[in-house]
C-alpha cells in the first residue's frame, strides 16, 4: 500500500511539473512580444548605461578606459552635481503639489452642472495639446528681460522689474511656473474623469443628512478620488524628475547652474561635453532615486488610497 501511494505521489509530481512547463511555455509565448520590445528599448539601454558608467569614453564615444567607480565618486563629491540634486528636489516640491492642487480646484469647478461648462473644460485641458517646446517659447517671451509682458505689467503698476530668468533664485521659480501651467491640462483631465466616476447617490444621501459642501468634499470627494489623485501625483512626480525641454529652452541650466536639473545635466555631460561615463553614472543615480521615491510612494501613499 505504501509503495502505491508513493508511486502515485511521484506520478502526480511528474504530471505537475509537465503541466507546469506547458503553462510556463505558453505564458512566455504570450509575454514574448513585450519581452522583446522591452529588451530592445529598455533593458538593453539600461544595461549599456550601467556598463558605460564604469568607463571613460574617447572622442568617438567608445568606452576605452575602465575606471571602476570613479565616475560615481566624482559625481557624488562634485559641487555642481550637488546643486543639480538640490535644484531637482526644489523643482519637484514647487511643481507637484501646486500643480495637483490647482488642477483639483479647476476640476471641482468644471465638474458642476451648469450651462456651457464644456467650454471651460475644453479650455482648462487645452494646455495638454501644446508641445513643451512651443509653450516654453511662449513663456520665454513672457519672461523676456527687456520686452517681457510680465515686467511691463509690474513696472506699469509701480513695482520693480524682476530678473525672471536671470537671477538664480527666480529662475527656478519661473521654470516651475511654466511647468505647472503646462501640466495642468493633463492633471485636470484625469482628475475630472475621476470626479465624474463618483457615484451620485453618495452626494444625495449627504445632502439629505444636511452635510455642507466642504464636509462632502472632505468625506466623499477626496476619499473617492484618492486612486486618481494617487495616479496623478505619481505621474507628475516622475515627470518632474525627468523635466528637460523647458530648462533647455528657458535657461540652459543657468544662471549659476540654479536650474541645472539632473536630466539637463545628463544631457549636457553626454551630448555637449561628450563625457558618456559621467553622464551614465548620473543616469543610474537618477534611476535609483526615482525607483526609491516610487517604492516609498506605493508603500506609504497607497495605504491612504481608498479603492471602491
Amino acid at each position: 500500500m505504501k509503495s502505491t501511494a508513493e508511486l502515485q505521489e511521484k506520478s502526480v509530481t511528474k504530471i505537475d511539473t509537465k503541466w507546469r512547463f506547458i503553462y510556463w511555455r505558453s505564458a512566455i509565448l504570450y509575454l514574448l512580444p513585450s519581452i522583446i520590445l522591452f529588451s530592445v528599448f529598455l533593458f538593453y539601454p539600461l544595461g549599456k548605461t550601467l556598463y558605460l558608467s564604469f568607463f571613460l569614453t574617447d572622442q568617438q564615444g567608445n568606452a576605452n578606459v575602465f575606471v571602476g567607480l570613479e565616475n560615481y565618486q566624482y559625481i557624488l563629491q562634485a559641487e555642481s552635481f550637488h546643486k543639480s540634486i538640490k535644484a531637482t528636489i526644489l523643482f519637484v516640491l514647487y511643481t507637484v503639489p501646486t500643480g495637483v492642487i490647482i488642477s483639483l480646484f479647476l476640476a471641482l469647478l468644471a465638474n458642476e452642472k451648469i450651462k456651457g461648462v464644456g467650454i471651460f473644460r475644453t479650455i482648462y485641458s487645452s494646455t495638454m495639446g501644446i508641445s513643451v517646446a512651443a509653450s516654453a517659447v511662449v513663456w520665454l517671451f513672457i519672461f523676456h528681460p527687456s520686452m517681457g509682458i510680465l515686467n511691463q505689467l509690474i513696472t506699469s503698476i509701480g513695482g520693480t522689474s524682476i530678473d525672471w530668468l536671470l537671477h538664480p533664485n527666480w529662475a527656478l521659480v519661473s521654470v516651475s511656473v511654466t511647468t505647472i501651467w503646462m501640466n495642468i491640462g493633463f492633471s485636470f483631465l484625469i482628475i475630472l474623469g475621476g470626479l465624474q466616476n463618483i457615484d451620485d447617490h453618495l452626494y444625495e444621501s449627504a445632502r439629505i443628512s444636511g452635510a455642507s459642501y466642504f464636509y462632502q468634499l472632505r468625506r466623499i470627494t477626496i476619499p473617492m478620488l484618492s486612486p486618481t489623485l494617487f495616479f496623478v501625483i505619481t505621474v507628475s512626480l516622475i515627470n518632474a524628475f525627468q523635466t528637460f525641454g523647458q530648462v533647455d529652452i528657458l535657461t540652459q541650466g543657468g544662471p549659476s547652474e540654479s536650474t541645472n536639473l539632473i536630466v539637463y545635466s545628463i544631457y549636457r555631460e553626454a551630448f555637449v561635453n561628450y563625457q558618456f561615463g559621467t553622464a551614465s553614472a548620473q543616469s543610474i543615480f537618477l534611476f535609483i532615486c526615482i525607483l526609491i521615491v516610487t517604492i516609498l510612494q506605493f508603500k506609504f501613499g497607497e495605504r491612504k488610497v481608498h479603492y471602491q
Binding site: Q59, V65, V117, Y124, A134, P145, S146, G254, P255
Partner: protein, 469 residues
C-alpha cells in the same frame, strides 16, 4: 446665489488662462510663420535639387552639412546653386543640420563611414576635436597636390586653422567680436559719439554717465556682455593673455587652463565693479535677448559678433556706432581671435566626392562668392580681394560700420594669444567660464570664481587626455 458664485470663479480662472493664451499668440505667431516659410523654402529648394540630380545622374554628388539658418542659409544655398551651375561635373547638396553643436553630434555618429557628408561646417572651438577624431582629410593634402596658392587668403584667419604647419580645414565664415554702442545715447549723456571708450577704465566712466535710473528701476544700463565664454576669451586675448598653457595648446598638447591669470582677473574685476555700481546690465546668455535689450535702449553699449553688425545697424531706431573691443590700460592691445566656422573634408568617402568637395571649397574662396557672403551676412571675407569688389564697396557706403570689423581684424598682431586656444574640451570650458561669470554677477569674488572654473576645466582636460591616449 451659489451658481452665480461658481460662474464667477469659472470666469475668473478662465480669464487667467486667456491672458496667458493671448500673450502666446502675440509672441509666437510671427515666429512660427517665418519658421514655416523658411522650412517651405528649404523643402522647395531641396526638391528642385533632387530633381536636377536625377536628370543628370552622371554628375558626382557631394553632401555639404552646414549650420547656417536665416539669411546665412539663404546665402549659402544661393552660392551652392551658383557653383552647381558654373560647371557640369559636380553637384553639391547643402543640408542644414541644426546648430554647430547638433551638426557635430550627428557627425560623430557617421564620421569615418561611407554615409559621412563630404563637407561639414564646424565651429572654431571644434577644431581640435576634428583633428583628433580621425574622421577627416586635411585640406593641406589637396593644396600640396595641386600647388594651390593659399596666400591669397586673410593671414589672420589662416593662422587660426593652421596647426603644426598644416591647414586642416578651409576657413569659411569668420567673425570677431566688436563693441556696439548707441550714438544717440552718447550725445544725450554728453559723450563724444565719435570717440567711443577704448579701455576698461574709460568703459567704466562712460557707463556711469550712460546709466539712467528711475527710482529702483534701471531704465538704461551703461554696458553689457552676453554670458558667453567667447567674449571672455577675446577680452583675455586682446590683452595678450593665454587661455591654456603650452602656448594656448599650439606648441604642445595643452594640459592646464590658465585663464585665471591677471588678464582674466582684470576682465572679471571690470564686470564685478560695474555690476556693483549698477551700470552693468545682465541680459542672460541668449544672443537675441541682448540684441533686443540694445534695440529697446535698455543698454547703451554691448559686445556682439561682427556677423550681427549689419542686422543691428539696420534695425536700430537710433544711430549705431561700432568700435574695437576694449582692453585694459595695464596691457597693450593685441587684437582679436577669429571666431566662426570652417569647412572640413571627410575621409573614408569616394575620392571623386572628395574632389567635388575640394572644387567647391576653391569656388567658395573666389572674391565673388566671398563678396556675396560678406554682404549677405556680415561675416568676413576670407579672401581680402573681395573687399575691392564693387558690391562690397557699395555696401560699405551704406553701412560704414562693417568696415570697422574688417579693420580690427587686419590690425591684429599675430601671436599665440590671438591665434586662439586649441583644446578638445572647449564646449565644457566655455560652460565653466559662463558659470563663473554668472557667479560673479551674484557677488562671488572674481578670483574665486575663476579658480573654480579653471579647476573644473583642468579636470575635464585631464580626463579627456586619459581617455584618448
Amino acid at each position: 446665489m451659489k451658481k452665480l458664485l461658481l460662474l464667477f470663479f469659472l470666469t475668473l480662472s478662465l480669464l487667467i488662462f486667456i491672458t496667458a493664451c493671448s500673450n502666446d499668440a502675440e509672441g509666437e505667431e510671427p515666429e512660427e510663420d517665418t519658421a514655416d516659410e523658411e522650412q517651405q523654402a528649404d523643402e522647395s529648394t531641396e526638391n528642385e535639387e533632387t530633381n536636377e540630380e536625377e536628370a543628370m545622374d552622371e554628375k558626382v554628388e557631394a553632401v555639404f552639412w552646414h549650420a547656417m539658418s536665416g539669411s546665412g542659409q539663404e546665402s549659402i544655398e544661393a552660392i551652392v546653386d551658383n557653383f552647381n551651375q558654373s560647371q557640369d561635373q559636380y553637384t553639391i547638396i547643402p543640408e542644414f543640420q541644426g546648430s554647430y553643436e547638433e551638426a557635430l553630434t550627428k557627425f560623430r555618429s557617421v564620421g569615418g563611414t561611407e554615409d559621412a557628408p563630404a563637407i561639414i561646417q564646424t565651429f572654431e572651438v571644434g577644431t581640435k576635436y576634428m583633428i583628433d577624431s580621425g574622421f577627416i582629410e586635411p585640406v593641406q593634402s589637396f593644396i600640396d597636390e595641386e600647388g594651390y596658392d593659399i596666400n591669397q587668403l586673410e593671414e589672420n584667419i589662416l593662422n587660426y586653422y593652421t596647426v603644426d604647419d598644416q591647414l586642416y580645414s578651409m576657413p569659411f565664415n569668420s567673425s570677431t567680436p566688436v563693441m556696439l554702442y548707441n550714438k544717440d545715447a552718447f550725445e544725450e549723456a554728453g559723450l563724444d559719439p565719435e570717440d567711443p571708450p577704448q579701455t576698461f577704465e574709460e568703459i567704466k566712466e562712460a557707463a556711469e554717465q550712460l546709466t539712467v535710473k528711475d527710482g529702483d528701476n534701471t531704465e538704461r544700463y551703461g554696458f553689457s556682455i552676453l554670458n558667453y565664454g567667447w567674449f571672455i576669451e577675446e577680452l583675455i586675448a586682446t590683452q595678450g593673455g593665454l587661455f591654456v598653457n603650452n602656448d594656448n595648446g599650439r606648441s604642445d598638447e595643452a594640459t592646464e587652463a590658465v585663464f585665471n591669470g591677471e588678464e582674466g582677473l582684470r576682465v572679471f574685476q571690470l564686470i564685478d565693479e560695474m555690476n556693483q555700481a549698477g551700470t552693468y546690465g545682465n541680459f542672460g546668455s541668449n544672443w537675441d535677448d541682448i540684441r533686443a535689450a540694445f534695440q529697446t535702449e535698455n543698454t547703451a553699449m554691448y559686445l556682439d559678433s561682427s556677423a550681427g553688425v549689419a542686422g543691428t545697424v539696420e534695425n536700430a531706431p537710433f544711430e549705431v556706432g561700432v568700435a574695437y573691443i576694449p582692453y585694459s590700460e595695464e596691457a597693450e592691445r593685441n587684437g582679436v581671435i577669429i571666431g566662426g566656422a570652417s569647412l572640413w573634408m571627410s575621409n573614408g568617402i569616394d575620392e571623386a566626392k572628395q574632389q567635388a568637395a575640394w572644387e567647391f571649397m576653391k569656388y567658395l574662396q573666389s572674391p565673388e562668392s566671398q563678396a556675396k557672403w560678406h554682404i549677405d551676412t556680415g561675416y568676413f571675407s576670407i579672401n581680402p580681394a573681395a573687399y575691392d569688389e564693387e558690391m562690397v564697396q557699395e555696401r560699405w557706403e551704406e553701412v560704414p560700420q562693417l568696415k570697422v570689423t574688417v579693420e580690427q581684424l587686419q590690425e591684429t598682431k599675430p601671436s599665440y594669444a590671438t591665434q586662439g586656444a586649441l583644446i578638445s574640451v572647449f564646449p565644457e570650458a566655455r560652460q565653466q567660464v559662463v558659470t563663473a561669470m554668472e557667479n560673479v554677477l551674484q557677488g562671488t569674488d572674481p578670483q574665486e570664481a575663476l579658480d573654480q572654473a579653471v579647476e573644473e576645466t583642468n579636470r575635464v582636460m585631464e580626463q579627456a587626455n586619459r581617455a584618448n591616449e
